[in-house]
């Protein structure tokens, strides 16, 4: 009888044993919570040679009001505070000047998903565009778009995604936000393992200066379309320059929320194996909590991480 070879198969048992996706597997199937803030206190933003990452998470109770209305002024203040913290500058203009120059052509890549409705909020987009403009970039050289963003002519990209659990990729934040830079985006759906290669496309590679995540009202349900029961007001903004670390932190938050909602383990499925691949294969950042310095600012009620 011919013996079947598992080859590169990863089964649920591999996750249970902790043999698949490392700490991310533990986030989905493990009992313990990962410990972030493992990087050194003076950790600097990610580079391949210095694989430690900083992620700033800021939350404000006033960011969302009645009828889920987002307060644009509060959001601007949150983004400014987070970018200042991330850059180490006390002044917002100086902080943004670290990431965009007056002679840049800047793509502000946000998420617009009509059918699912978990968009990057307009207040977040406006706040980023405003600061990019104040850094001296002319309005004619700022492209704030989702589909059709002319990334090839951009010298800098600001990645501004929303956060949602996704029925084909597991989770969709900063990495899936670039999926439509590919001429064949559907090839990164189920499996999505190679999503990281989009960041290495010649017209994309090295251009991402900053990631500003709209985690004001994330989505944790199975999809593909939204069930309003599975959306919650988290009141957060996240800033980093490491897409893998961002994905890892968001995964842990969404997984915690799912478990809370069901009152039992409700693992995100399919497991977003593209995160581990982005770390180990494409070396875009780190997914290891021990190498991610998570700085939490502001409101901490139900922070889940």
């Amino acid at each position: 009888m011919k013996k079947r070879r598992a080859g590169r198969a990863f089964t649920r048992r591999d996750f249970i044993k902790g043999a698949a996706m490392g700490t991310l597997g533990m986030a989905l199937y493990g009992k313990g919570k990962p410990v972030f803030a493992g990087a050194k206190a003076d950790a600097v933003p990610f580079t391949a040679e210095n694989p430690e990452s900083v992620v700033v998470l800021i939350r404000n109770e006033r960011a969302i009001g009645a009828a889920d209305k987002v307060d644009a002024a509060v959001v601007q203040e949150m983004i400014d505070t987070a970018v200042k913290q991330f850059s180490g500058e006390a002044d917002a203009a100086k902080a943004w000047a670290k990431y965009v120059r007056a002679d840049d052509t800047v793509g502000v890549k946000f998420t617009r998903c009509d059918y699912m409705r978990v968009h990057t909020d307009q207040a977040v987009i406006d706040a980023v565009v405003k600061r990019v403009g104040e850094a001296g970039v002319g309005q004619d050289r700022i492209y704030a778009q989702d589909g059709g963003l002319p990334f090839a002519k951009c010298t800098a990209l600001i990645n501004v995604p929303s956060v949602k659990v996704h029925t084909l990729t597991g989770i969709a934040v900063s990495m899936k936000n670039y999926i439509n830079f590919s001429p064949a985006p559907s090839k990164y759906h189920a499996p999505s393992t190679n999503l990281g290669e989009i960041f290495l496309m010649p017209d994309v590679k090295g251009k991402t200066r900053l990631i500003v995540v709209d985690i004001l009202r994330p989505y944790f349900g199975p999809g593909p379309q939204i069930n309003p029961l599975h959306r919650w007001n988290y009141h957060g903004i996240m800033v980093s320059n490491d897409p893998v670390a961002v994905e890892s932190v968001c995964l842990n938050i969404c997984q915690a929320k799912r478990n809370l909602f069901k009152g039992e383990a409700w693992p995100i499925t399919p497991p977003p194996d593209f995160i581990a691949a982005a770390d180990k294969t494409y070396k875009l950042g780190t997914s290891d909590p021990a190498k991610i310095k998570l700085i939490k600012l502001g409101w901490d009620k139900d922070i889940l991480i």
Partner: protein, 293 residues
């Protein structure tokens, strides 16, 4: 899971009876943008990154109508035409979170979203934001659509083999392919069970005498394909040697839960996540008996 020939979009819009049943205006809400229709050919124009879930069933087309009213949330009604009632049931059961409503052959309402199915039709009606008025309109639209569907459809025959005792109703899923399995329960990153559009899968969770377990009942188009999938599951998941005529006993896995598989003709009965061997044995035995009846 055959797909019958799909008519062109103009013809669908002109002839779709449920479109004619929908009112042009309701409680001050009027039709917004033009009615739309998306078929298997262009479903991604409507839900890029989500169409795969519908294509995994015998989806034919979705008709979309928007209702708008000043100072009120817009409401979108989506009517999915499937080729079979069993797949309308399957799509409906993709997400069961919400409150059950007496409408059609099954309906669930959740914070501004109504989902229902009847015969070969699956419906989603959703408001941008839930308000009492919007909810009333959503329910009226749902009722109108249900009344316009003349007959009930049959649920998948496979469900009759599921043990009824201890079944957690909201856990019931029906599907065909790996993409649907992965959306509900991750077994592996490869197609261990050889799922395809021709396979039928009923999946449910059970709770009996304080123990829990999950059943995956798979019907293959041929005995040969069932045997092959049996071998793949035994060798790739249970990590045991497979011989077609040898029974592989249930196995206690690393998390302390039991897993086991039994084949009967073109059916595979897979029980996983079982707290105790006794619940695994009971589900396996009861399902086998049901299949023989």
């Amino acid at each position: 899971m055959g797909q019958s020939q799909i008519p062109d979009k103009g013809k669908i819009l002109a002839a779709f009876p449920l479109r004619q049943a929908l009112p042009p205006e309701i409680s001050g809400w009027k039709t917004g943008r033009e009615d739309q229709v998306f078929t298997r050919d262009n479903i991604f124009d409507y839900m890029n990154g989500g169409g795969e879930i519908y294509l995994a069933y015998d989806f034919q087309f979705v008709f979309v109508r928007e209702y708008v009213r000043d100072d009120a949330p817009s409401i979108v009604a989506e009517i999915y035409q499937m080729s079979s009632s069993k797949d309308a049931f399957g799509v409906f059961n993709h997400d069961t979170d919400g409150d059950e409503v007496e409408l059609g052959q099954g309906a669930i309402y959740a914070a501004g979203l109504l989902r229902l199915w009847k015969d070969k039709i699956f419906v989603r009606i959703m408001a941008d934001r839930e308000t009492p008025e919007a909810k009333a309109v959503i329910m009226q639209l749902g009722t109108t659509i249900v009344r316009a569907i003349s007959q009930d459809g049959e649920k998948p025959n496979l469900l009759r083999a599921l043990p009824s005792e201890g079944l957690r109703p909201k856990s019931l899923r029906y599907f065909h392919t790996l993409i649907s399995l992965n959306a509900h329960y991750y077994l592996a990153n490869v197609n261990i069970l050889n799922l395809s559009p021709e396979t039928q899968v009923a999946m449910a969770r059970y709770e009996k005498e304080g123990s829990e377990a999950r059943l995956l009942l798979v019907e293959y188009p041929t005995v040969e394909r069932a045997v092959d999938a049996h071998g793949r599951f035994v060798e790739m998941f249970l990590l045991e040697r497979f011989e077609a005529d040898r029974k592989v006993p249930p196995k206690k896995l690393e998390n302390g839960k039991f897993a086991g598989v039994v084949r009967g003709g073109k059916y595979l009965i897979i029980v996983i996540e079982a707290d105790k061997k006794s619940i695994l044995d009971w589900i396996t035995k009861t399902t086998s008996q049901n299949l023989e009846e």
